[in-house]
Symmetry: C2
Amino acid sequence: MNTGTAAPGSGISRRRLLVGGAGLAGAGAAGALAVASLAGGDAAAQATGGGVVPFHGVHQAGVVTRQDRLYFASFDVITDDPGELHRLLDDWTVAAAQMTAGLEAGEYGAVGGPYLAPPEDTGEALGLPAANLTITVGVGRSLFVDGDGRDRFGLAARLPSALIDLPHFPADDLDPARSGGDLCVQACADDPQVAFHAVRNLARIGFGVVSLRWSQLGFGRTSSTSTSQATPRNLFGFKDGTANIKAEEVEELDTHVWVQPGDDPGAEWLAGGSYLVARRINMHIETWDRTSLAEQETIVGRTKGSGAPLSGGDEFTEPDFAVTGRDDQTLIAERSHVRLAHPTVNGGARMLRRGYNFTDGSDGLGRLDAGLFFIAFVRDPRIQYVPMQTNLSRHDVMMEYLVHTGSALFAALPGVPDGGSFADALFD
Amino acid sequence: MNTGTAAPGSGISRRRLLVGGAGLAGAGAAGALAVASLAGGDAAAQATGGGVVPFHGVHQAGVVTRQDRLYFASFDVITDDPGELHRLLDDWTVAAAQMTAGLEAGEYGAVGGPYLAPPEDTGEALGLPAANLTITVGVGRSLFVDGDGRDRFGLAARLPSALIDLPHFPADDLDPARSGGDLCVQACADDPQVAFHAVRNLARIGFGVVSLRWSQLGFGRTSSTSTSQATPRNLFGFKDGTANIKAEEVEELDTHVWVQPGDDPGAEWLAGGSYLVARRINMHIETWDRTSLAEQETIVGRTKGSGAPLSGGDEFTEPDFAVTGRDDQTLIAERSHVRLAHPTVNGGARMLRRGYNFTDGSDGLGRLDAGLFFIAFVRDPRIQYVPMQTNLSRHDVMMEYLVHTGSALFAALPGVPDGGSFADALFD
C-alpha cells in the first residue's frame, strides 16, 4: 500500500529515504549497515548538554539514549482507512520532530492559533526545555493482520517474519488491557512532564484514528546504555544491566540490535529498525524484602553492593560459572539469574535493554503495585528474547518474586531521514 | 496516652520538644510561633545545592520545599496496641532522619548487615544522592476514633477539632480505595526513585503494624512554593499556583499554614503542625483539548501563555474583577476559576498548595487516567478549604472537566526537634 502523495496539511516533503530498504544491500561489504557510527550519535549529542537529541537519522533515537524517565503508550488503530493511518504517521512525524527539538506541536502551538479553535499543543510543556526527549515509534503484528488473519491495511505482505505473537511463558499472568497494540510510542526524556506531553499530543493528533490501549509511566531507569553512566538499580535493589549493550559498542549494535539488510527478504523495509519487546514485570517486593541478603545474592548471582559476580572481581568482571567453593559447589548458582541470562547459555544472544522502574500505586491488598517495565531492543526476538525468557521462566529462582502482567512486541521503525515520514518504510 | 519511655530498639533519645505544645503559648506577643524565619529554612538550605533538606526543626520539612517529584502513601494501622504504634513512629523518625540525610535506612543499611538476615534497607537508592528528600508525616481522624466513634489508641481526647470528615462536595466521585487513611507519608525529592525508596522502606519497617492503603506517584510539580521558581503548569496547560503562598512569605505562613498555639485548646500538641488536604483530581483532558483557547482562558480567567489575568497586566498582576469590556461584561468571568478561588471571595482565605501532576496509565476507554494530585497545607481546613471547595464545586465552570476521585485530610505533625520523635506530639 502506497498512498503516493504527501498527506494534506502535513507540511513535510516526502523525500525518499536514501539509506533504507532494499537499497541498502550494497552499503557494506558484509551487508551490515555502514552507518553504525551514527548509532551512538544521539547519545553523543546528549552528552554535550544541549538537551536536544536529533530526531532524524538512519535509526530512530530513543534506543541507545540515556534518559531517566519514560512514558510509553500503546494504541489501537480504530480506522479501516489506510490513508488515514498513513496521514496519522505523517502528522506524528512532524509533531515528533518539533517536540523533540523543544518546540510546541502544530503550526501555531499552544497559544498562537485562532482564538476560537482548540490549541494545537496542550501547553503543559511550555517553558520547559527539550529535556533530551526522544520519540520512538513501533508497529505491532495486529497492524498487519487481525486475529482472523485478515489484511487490515494492505500491509499483510509486509509483515516481518520475526514480528510474532510471543508465546505464553510459564509464570505469565498477562492482563490483555496491558498487552499488545497496533502502534507504540516510547517517549523518553530527562523530565517526565516532557515525556507525558509528547504522548498526550500524539494521542490528541490521533483522535478518531487511534485509541489509547494502555500506557506506562516509568520513573527510574535501569540498564544504562552508556559506559559513562553508573549502572542503575532495579527495585530488588540490585544493579541492573551491567552487561547491557552500550551506545559505544557500535559493532555489537549491528550484530544484536539493528535489523540488517537481508535479515528478512519479505520485510526489507525494516532494515535499520529493531524489535521492541515490552514486558510489565510486577515484583513481589514485600516478599523480596523479607528474604536474606545471602538468598538475594544467590538468586541474582552478584553481590548487592558492588554488583560483582559471586565468582569474584568487580562489577565488570566476567562471571566465572565454573569456579567452585565449599563442597565443590559453584560460587554462582546454576539457577542464578546472572547465569541463566548470560549469553554463554543463550547461544551468544545479547539484548539492548532499557527498562524502567515503575509504580502504579498499590494493589488493594496493602502491597505496592511496582516492578520493572522491561524494554529490550533486539534484531530478532525469536532468537534473542524467546529462548532466554523461556529459560528464565522455567529455571530462574527469581521468578518466584516476579509475575509478568503485560506483554507486547513491536517492530521499531527504521530512522526517519530529514524530510521523511514514519510512514515511508511501512507504505512506500 | 503516653508510653513515657523510649521505644525499645529505636535508638533515639527522647529529648522533649523544647518549642511545642502548651509551652508555646508565651513564645510571642501575639501568640504566633516566633520561629517563622525557620519556616523557609529548608528552602534556603535546598537552594544552596547541598541536596540535603534538614529533617529536624520546628516545622516538618516538605511543606515549603520545591522538589519536583512526589510519592505519597496512606496507611491503615492494623495493630490495636498503642505501644506498637508509638514504636512505629519512633522507628519511622530514625529512618526518615537517615534517609533525608542521604543515608540508608537501618543500622546496617542495604548490604552491611548479617548475611543470613533480610537487609535493613531495600537498596534501590544506593549510590543516589539525598536529592532533597523530605518526608512529611500526618495522622488521619480515623487514627483517633474509628467509624463507630471508639477510641482506638487512647488518643480520642487529643483529636484536633479541625480534623473533620470532609463533606461530600458536588461532583465528588470518590473511590474509597483512594481515600482516607490513619497515617500518611508525603515523600518529595528531586529524584522519584529516592521518593519511592523512602516510602517503601517506611512500609517495610511498618510490616505488621501498618498496611498500605493507597499511594500516588506525582511526576510534575504545580504550585511552586518559591519566588525563585517559574510557575509550573498543570495538565490543562495553564500556569498553576501563581498566587500560591511562597516559602519567603514567613508571616503569611504563620497566618495561613502553621497551626498556632491557642488555635485548638484540646489539641495544643498540633501547634507548629498543619493540615494536609489531599485530593486526587482526574482531568478530562481529551475533552479539554478539544475546547477552544477562548473558552479555556475564559474558564481559567487568565491567559494560557503568560498567565496574566484577563483584566490585564502580567502573571503577577492582581486580577481586577470589576473592570469591564464589551457589553459591560467583566473581563474576568464571574464563574472563572481565578475569581472563585480568589481570597477576596473566600473571606481572605489562602492556602499553601503543592500539587503534582499524575498519570496512572489509561482508563480502559481509550483515555488517559491523569490529572492533578492536589495537596494543600492549611491552618484550618474548615475555614480555608471547605468553603472554597464548596464554592468551586458549585460554580466553577472548570468542574465540567474535573472529577475528584480521591480525598483525605491529615493533621501534619509539628516538626521533630533533634533527638525527638514523630510520636512525641501525639503521645506525650
